[in-house]
Symmetry: C2
Subunit: 152 residues, 2 copies
Amino acid sequence: MSKPEIRISRFQDGYSWECVEREVYKSGQEVGRDWQGIVRQVLVGKDGETTAFHLRYFEVAPGGYSSLEKHEHAHVVIAIRGHGRAILDATAYDLNPFDTVYVAPWTPHQFQAAGDEPFGFFCIVDSERDRPQSVSSTEAIVAQAVGARGRS
Amino acid sequence: MSKPEIRISRFQDGYSWECVEREVYKSGQEVGRDWQGIVRQVLVGKDGETTAFHLRYFEVAPGGYSSLEKHEHAHVVIAIRGHGRAILDATAYDLNPFDTVYVAPWTPHQFQAAGDEPFGFFCIVDSERDRPQSVSSTEAIVAQAVGARGRS
């Protein structure tokens, strides 16, 4: 049996963790997807952990949003910082700290910051997962009708 | 494609979630394992979710502790309420809100409340996992030397 590799990641000022890289995505786009003002920190998933899942912390700057997308794998989100909004299919949900969200497979979804402070949340996903896809034009129209932002 | 089943679990006063059962384990023991003052809330894992992981929130009352145990599956813990201590193998680690812990396979581990308020944490585990085992007498002696509590 190989030696256990225990790891404690210490939380620090500014919603960062000791020895965890802050990956900044100011804005970007791929075919049919765009996003703005996102920082990602991967807490579990980059160091050969044996878990069937990865744990990431995302932070969305005021005015920012994740891409409107869908995929086979489900998301689990735990809001922890500030206030946000989840666009899920044809509904917008306000999110406050410690609210949790189960985003079922193939649900078109987008996360947005609400208000003047960053919106931060943990997002847990299967370690083996499909790539995000852009939503259909009908799904985009539906999502934008309830508040989705950006290109679609 | 079946209809997505989105779920928002709203956080409420008293560190509980709307429509989520609070499972209370005042104290108990099985062969070689005991625990005290634990409340569990299963946020993801009881409703046919497709994820390869489950999300639970555990709260340990002041003076309480989880069982000292080990298993093949890894744990990921996110401290969120109060202050606690993780006994991992031969080391005790203080835990403060938003510190995260990766408990590698087969690491003897116990979580304890520290101070006068409850210690609350999310614990993420693989949905398919082995049962916890009691630690060996040597592992128990080592863990108790660094602060593990209860029977072992």
